[in-house]
Symmetry: C2
Subunit: 220 residues, 2 copies
């Protein structure tokens, strides 16, 4: 009796664990934490064949991680609940603290390449209030439009590569992107410094900003 109850409950919770047991699915969830996207976009950004993407999304749907909205022939996916963000965050925290390989990769890519410490969200807020920094959002335009830090300029990495940015060189530039493991802001900082800017990257991205209950601006 009580055994059947336990088996049911743990079985259900294991469904959630299972949904997070695939690298591809975690990548899809990370992309969705930037805002809703259709299947094609997800497939392209995660570099997964479309059919596989659809299959993974089905698993995520069954575990109630995501919900869908149909718009014409396109189906848009979005995270179902703030609790999903909390869970992803808890998973990444544990990975960061306990898995040597994660620690190693983040050290190598996200810290030591940067001679300066990356900016925390708290520092970022303070610097913005004091008004002597330019904050840029280097994610693709659609992610900026789906939600961004108020006052940040949209400067997608692709644009930054093509043409010189129109920002004063007097102010320090801070670039943010998808989160602590996103490489866009790293690359942006590298480009900006080459062009004579003082630039740093933010350690966290929009999902963390949103999770801190800070205001998020929408549209262009």
């Amino acid at each position: 009796m009580s055994r059947a109850l336990k088996d049911t409950l743990y079985g259900q919770f294991a469904r959630i664990g299972h949904a997070m047991a695939s690298p591809k699915r975690l990548e899809l969830l990370d992309l969705l934490s930037q805002g809703e996207k259709d299947v094609e976009t997800l497939a392209a950004q995660a570099a997964i064949p479309l059919k596989n993407t659809s299959a993974h999304l089905r698993v995520l749907r069954q575990a109630r991680f995501v919900e869908t909205r149909r718009d014409g022939t396109y189906v848009h996916y979005r995270l179902a609940d703030d609790a999903v963000l909390d869970l992803l965050h808890a998973l990444q925290q544990l990975g960061q603290r306990r898995l040597a390989e994660v620690e190693q990769v983040t050290q190598l890519f996200f810290t030591s390449r940067d001679e300066l410490q990356p900016v925390t969200l708290q520092e970022l807020r303070r610097l913005m209030q004091e008004g002597d920094v330019t904050v840029i959002d280097v994610r693709p335009r659609d992610e900026y439009e789906a939600g961004h830090i108020p006052g940040a300029l949209s400067v997608p990495l692709t644009e930054l590569k093509d043409r010189p940015p129109r920002m004063p060189k007097s102010k320090e530039v801070i670039a943010y992107c998808r989160g602590p493991y996103c490489v866009y802001s790293l690359e942006a900082v590298r480009l900006l410094r080459k062009r004579g800017y003082r630039a740093r990257r933010a350690q966290e991205g929009l999902p963390e900003w949103r999770a801190s209950k800070l205001p998020v601006a929408v549209g262009s």
Copy 2:
């Protein structure tokens, strides 16, 4: 280059998801959140054959969820990090909020059977400070000794079944156990009421108390 980086990171994070993708492993983690236990005890309490238990523990060890300590011929397992508790909590929160089956089971077993609302930890603290309740810990004795709410009496459910408890009937009794899905406190409340006590169960258990950074007493 960036793809290899992503694959490595998401692959590592998926290891963590995978460790949580099995009902048995989640049950073992729940047991370990009560305090350290040896393999034999874990196998008995989770009703899993010893060899399977050992195999599951190996998976948990490789994902760095747990650490071990050897004492003579016994190997004691414990959770490796507070981040593990956070992750388990986030998983259960999501399950509670999103999975209909979980909602249904908890409604059926943990609320409607109880004519009175279960007590939250916050209420429990207030009632204890006012001093007009008896708080009992109905988990097995070893879990009480590994950590309990200060001021709570150890009254394992097995003892409560055998002999009448020695507590004043004038005060209300509040029983707590392992967490929101633990049935010990339900059963304890049923027994106590049959014997003429005013009794309620706490909605959460020791892991939640600990996660709230409240003080925990150790020993008898």
